[in-house]
Amino acid sequence: MLRDALLLQMGYNATLVALGAASLGVAAGATGTFLFLRKRSLVSDAISHATLPGIGLAFLVMVALGGDGRWLPGLLAGSALSALAGLLCVTWLTRHTRLAEDAAIGAVLSVFFGAGIVILTVIQTLSSGRQAGLETFLLGSTAGMLFSDALTLAIGGTLVLALALLLRRPMIQVAFDPGYAETAGTSVSRTDFLTMALVMAITVVGLKIVGLIMIVALLIIPAVTARFWTNRAEYVVALAGLFGGLAGYLGAAISATAPALPTGPIIVLIGFALFVVSLLVAPGRGVLAAALRYRRFQRRVHLRQGLISLAQGQPVYERLTRRLLRREGFLRADNVITDAGRARAAKILRDETRWQAVRRSDSLAPLAMQDNGMTDIASVLTADQLAEIDRRIGGPKGVTP
């Protein structure tokens, strides 16, 4: 059944939803990356919660004008307007008061959301509002999605994605170094506003399918997931788009396999699963890779310290050090040094003596600054310098390098 869903064999509606969610995921992932790089991820939360009063007000206005009230473009326009109002509030509070941005976000988010809930409750009590179904905008809904809805998602998503790619250079420049960007001719305030406008657009586009509470996940999770895999901003954008699209597609397909599975939350959970896998296994920045690197380095340090102690005829107290020395064949089971251990210890001691000579040398002393205890002397000194040092300390005393 899941296989059918993934291969778009679950029927017309499920296919529409999967394709719509995938295009939304790509656009949201790529756009959200710029917000993440600018370290303003939470602003998207304020923006999305600020859409709610606009939805309610748009419904009331459309009913008052004698219309249906549920006309999607009208509702989305209303949500965009109130999201913009929320964004302007956050910007104004941050710029003109002593409030930090996180406090401003918290205040705006809760006030707008509260106002929205009040308006929605009022609508529920109106006769025209019974069937409104506006609460689906909270958590999203794909039930009864029309071809035109899917088309809106695809076109809106593509448009936002194209704009985001068009503006990628100024947005990355401002995210990295706003002060410099300003002097290099990129207006920080304008670029920030455009970034926010794109986020706002994607939020409005995604309201119907994932809902306003969870859209932030679609904007931010793909970006933080992508960050694990690359050190270049443009690749983060591309990978975030990929992860976002994947989450949208898989989430929609999986939720189609059972009638009771909500699409938006499943999409978010798939995105989270991709995040967890990346967090664990990504090379370089992943948790496992970092732990492995740490362990490997710790073992090198212990071995070196242990061998220095042995070379100087001092006992080795730390159990980990003794275990490592035994495993490398430098110590016997009864903690007596082996021939291999003696040879290696002599080599390390020679390098220590060399470093000491470098530190005391007039001409080479600055190079000694690069020694951190684990530095290979041959990587700092040239062969000639090394020979000169060896000549001063009386040459390598019977040690094969």
């Binding site: 790089l37 503006l167 990295f176 002060g179 410099y180 290099a184």
Partner: protein, 270 residues
Amino acid sequence: MKDAMPQLATDEGRPVADTLAQSPLAIRGMTVSYGEEPAIFSIDLTAEPGAMTAIIGPNGAGKSTLLKAALGIVRPLSGRATVFGKPLAKQRARIAYVPQRASVDWDFPTTVMDVALMGLSRELGLLRPVRARHVTRALACLDRVGMADFADRQIGQLSGGQQQRVFLARALAQDAELYLLDEPFAGVDAATERAIIVVLKELRAEGRTVVAVHHDLSTVAQYFDNVFLINRRKIAEGSVETAFTAANLQEAYGGRLATGQIDQLVLGTV
């Protein structure tokens, strides 16, 4: 020290002296305030063309603020800055800025080459693809500061001094006429300090103007032609010989420098 006025190509091929007749950077009556306490008060500064000027003063004297106000990064309460005789907004292409190293997040996902290429952002615009000649130019700028071998490194893997050199390379890529640097020597190793000063003196030799916030009084006379002493107010401005004096230093630093220390600094210059 800046005897031979060097050649600097201008767009219209006009003689250099005409272009540089007006000061590269002139600040008049600049006051910047965070809250209701001026960080700098009514500052006048006139940078000499083709010279290196150090902005010096104690911590919290408003050195960086002055630079940022001149660049339009912070909005002044009053006063204005002109660049080559015209308002800043029209002259941005002629200025390159090297911010304080600590002002950015070095874990940002970008490489040394990408940062150097940002210096070409005006030329690249939104859409123009990065071509081989852009990469070549960026590499040449990195090479000038000894960082060409690190082009593919993520910037977080660099030492502080290397990061500072990358920032300078980005500014070099802009090929500007006025270079404004915020503490370029702060917290860098000796090799980096040498590399940076060599490049700055090259810029001066090419007829460009350098203005740097500087914190190390012991190298002022060795590195710079002019000094601008500030402690919220302007204390003195002029050549090192005339303005970098015991009296001016005492005035700028208040009681924070011992008399013996000042004598050593100033006597060391003659």
